[in-house]
């Protein structure tokens, strides 16, 4: 996808090209050009670091949505083993915008459920851009209850612009499906760890997000409304960069800001230059965090786990009295 190169990444991409060309020349002419390449690589590393440590909130949104980022199925391949996908809600159909099934994390069986986006147009049509219908949420709940039945921890990966807004989704009860997941997730008697891996879009994200621990990848975003939607409502302009940037800042959607608000529990570091530059390294970091969190949560008895999860969400919100 040509659109997946982000404006602020252009100097990085330029430098990458330059290094690639040098490599090819060196190979063709059987020369060692390490003297030229090594400093350039160091420069590339530095450039990535500067660009990625100074990302604006809107740029973070672009990174979070980028099609080159690892998706749920990529993590299932890289951070888990023995994945067996389970399909369907047993009521209506299989929603490809959510995938899920049994997998092993560091050898132990877990249930993994996540939104799934597509990398190209064809795949995105099949996955509906990771925007689930009610049947997607009902499949997710079915799998969660299945995991609970066998006392298996649940891992959710959040990556969606939001729940789908359409005729069929409304007819089949999008609201009820999301509400039911919030209700049921609050009382699951097994450890639940949710990770926002890309875009955490509103209720469609939260429907997989009522967890004992909520993690967020360093460049992921989590928001009650899209920056475009917010800017359109407040300033009647959801298109200009200026207004989107204003909305992105105002909404506090980045991982450090949400950590400060107490909405998430941990930030999972991404490789320098973002998760998309190194899927394997991203998967390793996620795997480490998941293993550690699940291990900690396994120590709690089911009643205590549920009580703590409830207390955590019941404490959310700020007001005066």
């Amino acid at each position: 996808m040509s659109t997946s190169i982000m404006e602020f990444e252009k100097p990085i991409v330029e430098l990458e090209k330059q290094i690639d060309e040098l490599r090819r020349t060196a190979e063709k002419r059987q020369l060692s050009m390490e003297e030229e390449i090594v400093p350039l690589e160091r420069k590339l590393d530095e450039l990535r670091r500067t660009v990625y440590t100074t990302l604006t909130p809107l740029q973070r949104v672009q990174v979070a949505r980028n099609a080159r980022r690892p998706f749920t199925l990529d993590y299932l391949q890289l951070a888990f083993t023995d994945f067996i996908e389970l399909h369907g809600d047993r009521l209506y159909r299989d929603d490809a915008a959510i995938v899920g099934g049994w997998a092993r994390l560091d050898g132990d069986t877990v249930m993994v459920i996540g939104h799934q986006r597509g990398r190209d147009t064809k795949e995105n049509l099949r996955r509906n851009f990771g925007m689930p219908h009610p049947e997607g949420y009902r499949k997710a709940l079915r799998l969660m209850k299945l995991a609970e039945k066998y006392k298996i921890p649940i891992i959710t990966l959040i990556d969606t612009p939001g729940a789908w807004a359409g005729l069929g989704a409304e007819e089949r009860g999008q609201s009820e499906a999301i509400a039911r997941n919030l209700f049921e997730m609050s009382r699951l008697e097994v450890p639940v760890v949710a990770t926002v891996i890309g875009e955490g879009g509103s209720g469609g994200a939260l429907a997989l997000g009522v967890a004992d621990r909520v993690l967020m990848l360093e460049n992921a975003v989590y928001s009650v409304i899209t920056v475009e939607g917010c800017a359109a409502i407040l300033w009647k302009d959801g298109k200009s960069t200026e207004m989107k940037e204003r909305a992105a800042k105002a909404l506090r959607i980045t991982a450090p800001e949400l950590m400060e608000l107490g909405v998430i529990d941990e930030i999972v570091p991404e490789p320098v230059g973002g998760a998309h530059v190194n899927h394997e390294a991203s998967a390793r970091a996620l795997q480490e965090a998941l293993v550690r969190n699940i291990e900690e949560l396994r120590r709690f008895r089911p009643e205590k786990l549920v009580r703590r999860r409830r207390e955590k969400f019941l404490a959310m919100g700020e007001f005066t009295e």
């Binding site: 807004a165 359409g166 999301i178 608000l261 959310m316």
Partner: protein, 287 residues
Amino acid sequence: MAWFRKERKPRQPRREKLEIPPDAWEKCEACGHTDLREKFIRNLNVCPNCDFHRRIRAVDYVNLLLDDNSYDELDVDIRSVDPLSFPEYPARLKKALANAGDYDAIMSVSGNLGGMPINLGVMDFAFMGGSMGSVVGAKIARLGQRSLERKYPLVLISASGGARMQEGVLSLMQMAKTSALLAQLAERRIPYVSILTNPTTGGVSASFAMLGDAIVAEPGAVIGFAGPRVIKQTIGQDLPEGFQTAEFLLDHGMLDVVSHRRDLKSSVGGLLRHMSGQPAATSWVTP
């Protein structure tokens, strides 16, 4: 069923004193019918001509549902703050407090419905579009907590465009908060009836509004996850007639009862009696 009949008490006027100049006329937003304002009010703000249910205030619903216009208002001192330092939010709050009242987008009360003590929360669209922020979430959670402690049924009336954007993801979390509390009520078998009025969309519909043991809606109320405008934008075509109305949801199995405003109290009362082992409120007449 012909072998019993409801004994109806004569309806009392909703407001003690109606000081309305005789020349105050109002027009129905739906059919254009023009009538005396007093007549609209006597008819609970339902159009005498087309039955369109006009929007009424939270306190009107409280008086409609609870016995003898008597109730205790709860959590009266809780106020929204500006946790994100969101542009223009303090000013908007100030305006809403001045224009819509001081109970934020929900009024919490306890009182009796048909002799049964209940906890009642009524959202008010006049306060920032009935948007759910931390205060709405907290007031609902506390009502639920009171219901848990006293084993009183919970009734919530929704009127909302969704989450309060100005509180960012904290408002999103109120969906989880309210749903988690309702799960506790369900486990303790404490009845919860959800009443949906026009409109009930977004984060409110996708949390506590859709989790009632019974879900009752007013006729014609627009109920959905996404608002009609958003869906129209997404699909690029006009919506079918009656899409997302209470009747549409009833047809699609998403709610239990569509109740005229004048029957709301008896509908909810009947449901609560069944679920809390109370005898019927109707008197049985042998033919």
